[in-house]
Symmetry: D2
Subunit: 494 residues, 4 copies
């Protein structure tokens, strides 16, 4: 670990290596140019400081792009504490730069308390997550009496989960004993809560009460929130950032269109042109993948379970087939579904020699990695990190990228800054909604109003040289929309 | 007029020319092969006759494709009367073939009473529309006592409007006098209703009461229905077929992708490759247009008012500009907006010599045709029907297609059969819903449930050689959907 | 026939119908805007009249575009006589307009003697061809003693063939008797030559001697010329216009990319999106076809005999398969090869019901039409002109376009004006080369020098808004080319 | 340097690190699967050992792909010595693996003498090049009397140059003194030759006499050979491998289509979608670049000096503009020309802030790097290796990749194996021609006969699942080609 955790006496995070912080600052500067949405929000809202008084607990991959997000929140007046939402995803130089701050030094950091480093253990991970809820340092400094944040910015809902579990166990009077069937990660959470609840039995209730709400980044996190809401257990309002058009289409379609090729190239250097690529799923991710691959001269075959998406794939000129029908033809496989076992061990065994198998959809169970690992007679050879040749019992081999996990993260560098600028501008606007217009959001799960989705898009047009046309009053009246938007009904599909 | 109206003593429509009916039958036979959705519905539902007892008043362009729709409704047990929804759109051979019926003859027609011919006057048009509500012949034949249909299948809501206006005037006690500010068409409607209401003062109230509902094809018609519903004036349930994915995406995106090129080619024979084409609007229609034009090697420039659609256009690689910025560069203009005056006279005057101006969006006011016609010093030369050169006062000229009306109809042949098979399969399923599951539809406006939208897609897969993948029970459970669908949340954007 | 042949006392061609000439003039005016290459040549060379004294015998489809070519030759000082090179390809209104001339009238024609009408018999066709070699009227008017033209502009080499056959038979002393194995067309040629040679036994020798050369438009014609040259029988220099980049790539790739879709749409109105299209051949024509079809959302499968072209198809993302492997999948077939029997009767019998079969390659023997016609139990139904359903013995049917002949001519309108502007600008420059720089061209077959090929391209740039970059002297020197070009070695492949 | 040079007593190259050799062997094994052309040649020719007796001096980037080439030559019977043709391009693990050989060990190498490591000085580079001409070890071992190789396999013509310069100076009696105007590299060559000529005054004459010829890989090298031939100074036959279709199209078009994106992504992680990219030049490289960028959703603007290529760009739907016209719009610049100063310092100063500037064409003078370096007030910041931000005097900055050198090599990994399999299969066939059919190649420069070009393509079809169609005898006869090819005239453009 190249970063040292600070004591809790002052700022939470100390940087061992100024070079790291400087490298991070450099990358942040370049990323700012590719994140016009966030930079525009700084310009628009910096002067009025609408987030003054906001205390944001952030749990989201601590990357260079997130650094630009954090510093935007700060530029709007917020105080922030930050953890990563994944044990591997932190870019240490970004964490260091944010902790030091643009004007600080290692000795005198002027940044944000960051609890994140690349390669955390699960115990460390949940310790970091807990740290973003302890605002005692800030409270003391400000002479205030609050305990924790008043806003959560979440990715995958771990931070939100911790509060809900804490409240649940406080209410039931005890943190339950760990069961043999509990996952290791759940046992770590239980241990952590046991410690905190025993220290302060009302800790999480107070935290929950102070919270105005959470803004959630991902499909998975949103799913959890809807479940909590449906069960009547949601403790505070939530904004589903994931389903903004400017988030979901960008992350899913345009982000993958970019990073799929990047991942394939860095992992394998295989010529994509002329190859047959089988794309499992034709949702937004599959559409982006198929477009990228065709753009490189591959022949793409798609599979789908949804007849509407299947028909779209056909109308876009792709062959649509079941994997079993064409498995011997494909050179590369890309899963995009969010479902499990879409590539089974039987499929893996039927592939061409040295077929490349990769996942940009979801967890590593899209490909039956567990089944492969337990297959008798299989040998795994590391070609390089995140690229493994699995020599199968029949003698042929296949190449699996990123151990079956998201290869756009494991073999490439995830979504580019411009894509994240869209997602994060939605996050900032969602934080503003919860903080400034809290009265509009009783406990429940909301998507951002369409005019804010349109605003996010609008903030990215200048950077691309896009000229927007403006409705005349007569035209606006004729089609019955305000000149300034929103322009479409909510169910419009884009 | 090549068709003669019948007396009302027997069937409403008689065909003067058997050759016409035979030609139409021939085209219907070919169209059936391209309309697998409708043909599959005949197979699935023909045996059980679920529309037995249904009396459908149809008002929709009387084309070859509509003929396949009508005969599908009949194959499912319905009785049908039909008018066109546009004075020019009838294909006389299709009308003749449907009136004669697959097994009939001119002397002994075995088809459907059709009230439609190409080139109706407005008086004739509304007379035809009224005729589809007079089911006295059928009632007498069946020994029944009903007055009119129990279902409307509508396109543009004219048939629905007639009933609502009739009821409104019956309730108010009188059809109002025509005002000088009334359009000619409205005066024709008032005259018609004056006649019918004076003949039978309760006519339209009875008709309305017998109606189980209407299924509506178009954006414009749906808009009227939502307005009626919002004002509390809607008299019976309505299903918005227009917003099914398999309707709107097919009609708008894939239909235009096909027919825009067809219209440009038939009208002008101009090489599209290498040309600069300005596409006004990047909704579904604009997306289809831009894709088609790029596919021919044109350079496409897009304009948009909606920042989200503008950003999509940029991400798809198109220049996005205001028309004023690039007007001197474009060789071809295509409007796709549904708004008015998106090309003004000032724009027309600034175009290159012999620029081609065409509309696939909406009414002829997308281009300010009225302004052009009243421009001093302008000369209009007919190059061929639906293609006019307008020589402008400054000496340059422009080519306007279809008088500024929808050129995919005026210069080409509208949507291909396969596209209409999707729309019309939605219509059939919607008619079935209203007739068989009427209890699910109290007065209001509905979209078809997603599983039916998916069903329509499913009916078109085999014809395209698409193999659909099926979820395993474990997978279905994992993502929380039924194996048979529906697969997506309602707000999914495709 | 709507045109009457004149007596030979004055101009050769008289127009029965002024309306026809006016319609043609109108279309010529529009075409001029799409033929910037020809119009630029008029501007550049009109003032100096470099073709003054040239007497051009033209044999090329008498279309609107050819009218612009003819009037360009005249604008450069040439005298012209014209026949069509195909019995069906004349557009009568274009012929009429050229004969009347821009400033003439029916009574007092001021145009070019045109011998062409749509639907000639073979006898009429060859009579017309012979007429373009009889310049006695012009000689008398000019007080000159020549017999015929000094230049031929040929398409398919029929005019050149007539001269060569005439000379051959004059030299051998007699036109041979028609043999039973001779084709009907050859017997017509023999009859014609028998008449002319008996009238003037040295006629063709004199004609050949006066000729500076021929410029040939097509692959087929060029093939004949190379054969004559190889056998030592070529009588005068020939320029192979066909192999200019700006001719072959435009005609073959960009022309077909345009007109294939046009032909399919006009013939069938079938949605191309989502369909499987089998393209036989991936040369320039096949490349244009495949690109167009993909641009419409079709899935294209290609077949090839040449491994290099096959590899190109694969690298461009297309499936490459033998027709037998996928015949049951394809909805549409397009032949592009220039070879025979690439679709056999066995293939036709194996196709899907109502598969569409079309040829844009060459003669009607690409598809074994003769075999189909003689197949027992087959029925041919005319759906509309140039579209026939062939009901096969097994009960399925197929649709054949243009009787298996070139469907871009038969079902569409051939190459657009802009494409022909490239071809014809090459023709004009080739005529200029033979006339002005005859000393550079001893008897033999030549392609145009690269700088003229580049010039043709250059003449079309402005119309498309293309800005060309100019080399600095240092750059030109660095890569060793003149600033003004030519820029590439002769074997450069573009 | 991680590799140690051996003494010359045994094999020339020793590997310090077996791990390196093992890693290289691993990559070679994967590359073999992507190089079907070479592997097929091993299968076809391995049994008959047609290169038995061949002594090949290779000078070509010592990469993993080259390793597969070298071991193919060995598999066909040749003896080989190898140097790299670039001081930076060696992949040390590949060099190590080849030196060790598939069955050897560090202690007992069984491979090929390799003189190459990453990061040579110029002195080391030319020493290595000289080493491939010293076959005394092999001669002694074989009991033969030759001095050097009998074949050169060259890339960039450095090996060929050394022989020619050696012979020139031997003939003139002395190596000239180094002049102040000589480049550093030339002075290194002079020093080297001074040493060798003084040691053995007839050394290079003997080497030249023993040589059957050279096969040359690149445009630059071929250019030198044609100059030598034109000046009458070429000493032995040369085959221009560069201009085989399967070499030039693959390297230039398909190779760049792949590696341009890879380079941009690895260097900058910038989203390419939606960006404006200016591509300088629309030859094969520019065509590949433009296609790749469009496939990622960029808007591409092209510049050209050649009107034919400019017209092609327009017909392919790209805007064609001079750089000055659009310089402020572009986010990314890509040069592809092979010319110098196509981006000048003035251009660099006019670009957007953080515009990305990259070269895939030729030397680093495509971009005026020298001018930039000497610009007053400029600051160069290394973002990471091969990526530099140049902060310009006006305050904006630009990002320059690979110091202006070929970024597909510097920021990515060069051409993928499949591309190189095409190039190298041409090399192997060319070596075979010179060795087996030397009588067909008197001194001169040749391209490979078309049937061998076709053969190379053919060897790559199976790997892509391509089914080739075979001509029937009737069809072959009809179009006048052999069934087995070649299928096209030499000037065919593909």
């Amino acid at each position: 670990m190249s970063l040292l955790l600070s004591s809790e006496t002052a700022l939470a995070f100390r940087v061992a290596d100024l070079t790291l912080a400087e490298a991070g600052r450099h990358q942040i500067r370049l990323a700012e140019n590719e994140m016009p949405g966030l930079m525009s929000l700084r310009e628009e809202f910096g002067p009025t400081q609408p987030l003054k008084g906001a205390r944001i607990a952030g749990s989201l991959h601590m990357t260079v792009q997130t650094a630009v997000l954090i510093e935007t929140l700060v530029a709007l007046g917020a105080k922030v504490r930050w953890a990563s939402c994944n044990i591997f995803s932190t870019q240490d130089e970004a964490a260091a730069a944010v902790a030091v701050g643009p004007t600080g030094s290692v000795q005198s950091p002027a940044g944000v308390p960051v609890f994140a480093w690349k390669g955390e253990t699960l115990e460390e991970y949940w310790w970091c997550t807990e740290r973003i809820f302890d605002w005692s340092t800030e409270a003391r400094a400000a002479g205030e009496s609050w305990t924790g944040p008043n806003l959560i910015l979440d990715d995958g809902s771990d931070a939100t989960l911790l509060v809900h579990k804490g409240v649940e166990f406080e209410r039931s009077g005890a943190v339950p004993a760990t069961q043999p069937s509990d996952s290791h990660e759940y046992s770590v959470i239980l241990d952590l809560l046991r410690t905190t609840v025993s220290a302060t039995p009302t800790r999480w209730g107070v935290v929950a009460k102070e919270l105005l709400g959470v803004t959630e980044e991902t499909t998975t996190g949103v799913h959890r929130l809807y479940e909590l809401a449906a069960a009547g257990n949601l403790l505070f309002p939530a904004i589903n950032v994931n389903d903004s058009v400017t988030k979901s289409k960008f992350d899913n379609k345009y982000g993958i269109r970019h990073s799929l090729l990047d991942g394939l190239n860095r992992a394998t250097d295989t010529l994509i042109g002329g190859k047959v690529v089988f794309v499992v799923g034709y949702g937004d991710v599959g559409k982006g993948a198929a477009e990228a691959l065709r753009g490189q001269g591959a022949r793409v075959i798609v599979s789908e379970i949804d007849p509407i998406c299947a028909l779209q794939a056909a109308m876009d000129g792709f062959q649509v087939a079941r994997i079993e029908s064409v498995i011997g033809q494909a050179d590369i496989f890309v899963t995009t579904t969010g479902n499990k076992d879409v590539i089974t061990v039987e499929h893996l065994l039927a592939m061409k020699h040295q077929a490349i198998v990769s996942n940009v959809g979801h967890f590593d169970n899209e490909i039956d990695m567990a089944g492969l690992e337990s297959l008798a007679g299989v040998t795994k050879v590391e070609i390089k990190p995140q690229v493994h040749e699995w020599i199968l019992p029949h003698g042929r081999s296949i190449l699996i990228l990123s151990e079956g996990r998201l290869m756009n993260l494991g073999n490439a560098t995830g979504h580019p800054s411009f894509v994240m600028s869209n997602s994060f501008a939605n996050q900032v606007l969602a934080q503003l909604e919860l903080y400034v217009r809290a009265e509009n959001y009783p406990v429940g799960v909301y998507v951002l109003p369409k005019h804010l989705d349109e605003k996010v898009a609008r903030l990215h047009l200048n950077a691309l040289g896009v000229e927007l046309t403006q409705l005349t009053p007569e035209q606006a009246s004729y089609i019955g929309v305000p000149i300034a938007g929103p322009y479409k009904v909510n169910h419009y599909r884009y």
